[in-house]
């Protein structure tokens, strides 16, 4: 079958260039592709459009790319917790499109399912609806939202095999699964990379057909944004 294994993050992202549109998996700092983000910072590629639920924090996640001013436009649903982000937004250095979280997920899924657009009730009657087509079905209004069209999707999984099959862990699945389906090129970094046959076909979350390059990442920090414990 296929072998999609590449050596490391550098070899996985080698052809990402200035001005590209990237999807980056994760929710907050949970399940973000740490290795690829580091490699993107090192590579210094600029003017990126990033599609991601959040923008990381000041010194971790996409925040590292914001520090280096690599991001021209951010499409996200929630961008709190990031002072540098807010600064760039207020000074106009950064173009930001805030969209409902479900819309973000569905526009990814639509791309992965070959649907050109989907209808969602989220945002009807709000500024999100401005300029968008509204249609009534069964007495309820919906907005027409277009499938994303991103050159690259960069996701993080727990386990993967060289065929590109992916299994995520707990809530680190979040946007990774929908984005993995949505990239023209999908790059996956995993904590554990196994040979074909090492994963149960029944337990795979993202079939390998959606993944173009895969590598085993290293030195995962897995920073926790809000550690809360029971006293």
């Amino acid at each position: 079958m296929m072998n999609k294994k590449v050596k490391d993050a550098e070899s996985a992202i080698f052809d990402i260039k200035d001005g590209d549109t990237l999807m980056l998996g994760g929710f907050g700092l949970c399940g973000i592709p740490e290795n690829c983000i580091s490699a993107l910072v090192k590579m210094g590629v600029k003017n990126l459009t990033c599609i991601s639920n959040n923008a990381g924090v000041d010194d971790f996640g996409i925040g590292l790319m914001l520090q280096q001013k690599q991001v021209k436009k951010m499409i996200a649903s929630y961008v709190g917790e990031n002072a540098e982000f807010e600064r760039q937004l207020l000074t106009g250095e950064l173009d930001v499109e805030l969209i409902p979280q479900g819309t973000l997920a569905f526009r990814c899924m639509a791309a992965g399912y070959g649907m050109p657009a989907i209808y969602t009730p989220a945002g009807v009657g709000t500024e999100v609806a401005i300029g968008k087509e509204i249609r009534n079905f069964n007495g309820k209004d919906y907005l027409l939202e277009m499938a994303f069209n991103a050159s690259f999707a960069i996701v993080k999984a727990w386990k993967g095999d060289t065929e590109g099959n992916l299994i995520y862990k707990a809530t680190a699945r979040n946007f990774n699964a929908a984005m993995a389906m949505a990239g023209k090129i999908t790059i996956a970094e995993v904590e554990e990379l196994v040979e074909p046959g090492g994963l149960d076909p029944n337990e795979i979350h993202t079939p390998g057909i959606y993944v173009h390059r895969i590598f085993q990442g290293s030195n995962y920090e897995k920073r926790i944004e809000k550690k809360t414990i029971t006293k």
């Binding site: 949970c30 961008v79 979280q101 899924m109 969602t120 944004e225």
Partner: protein, 219 residues
């Protein structure tokens, strides 16, 4: 007058047996602490979890297991994990029985504003627009007035909207109010020691008062 815990405690009474519930950040999160023992409830976290349990002990903290507020959490037996698309799929398909969230403003038509203060705060709507556009039943947990002492229950929201005609009930430190289908806040209950007059003064939108207004009961 109620404190935050009191508001959470009163809202907990709204949860019926076998409800699937989504709790927003802030006061709504506290509601989980006051669910009556005889009530089965399953909490959904929109980042992809059903069956959310309490915060973990120090040694059970897992960076890969957080709630939508990015707090570390646990899973109860019978929990399930899913991706963001399915999570909002079940929200849009109205599988969630009750959504409890905070608000900056609510209008007498049931419009809600809770995601943006132009020129001041731009954090984003997160999942709030999806939740309010789809929920069968929405209860807002908030303070009756803002820090400047201005009413947050308005004839019309002044802030950018999160959703329209969606809020069903509001619980504040002063009162429980229902939003009437034809418009207006119907006063249902007073917080302990709070007079109708006080609630009137704190409510800028149309307030509907019929008969005697009972005081909230806690047990």
């Amino acid at each position: 007058m109620l404190d935050k815990e009191g508001i959470a405690k009163r809202i907990a009474q709204e949860i019926q047996n076998n409800y699937y519930v989504n709790l927003g950040i802030g006061i709504p999160t506290l509601v989980a602490n006051y669910i009556p023992k005889n009530i089965n409830v399953c909490f959904q976290s929109e980042n992809g979890l059903l069956g959310m349990g309490p915060f973990p002990s120090e040694d059970a903290v897992d960076a890969d297991l957080i709630n939508a507020g990015k707090q570390t959490i646990t899973m109860l037996p019978g929990a399930s994990i899913f991706d963001s698309a399915m999570s909002f799929g079940m929200i849009h398909a109205q599988k969630i029985d009750l959504t409890i969230l905070g608000a900056m403003e609510v209008s007498e038509m049931g419009d809600i504003a809770n995601w943006k203060i132009p020129g001041k705060m731009v954090k984003g709507m997160g999942g709030a627009m999806d939740l309010v556009a789809s929920a069968k039943n929405i209860i807002v947990a908030m303070q009756h007035v803002n820090k400047e002492g201005e009413s947050k229950l308005l004839p019309k929201c002044s802030l950018p909207l999160t959703g329209i005609r969606c809020v069903k009930k509001i619980v504040t430190e002063l009162a429980v109010l229902a939003v009437l289908p034809e418009g207006g806040f119907k006063l249902l209950e007073r917080a302990p020691g709070v007079s109708v007059e006080t609630i009137k003064k704190a409510t800028l939108g149309k307030l509907v008062i019929e008969g005697d207004i009972p005081e909230m009961a806690f047990n």
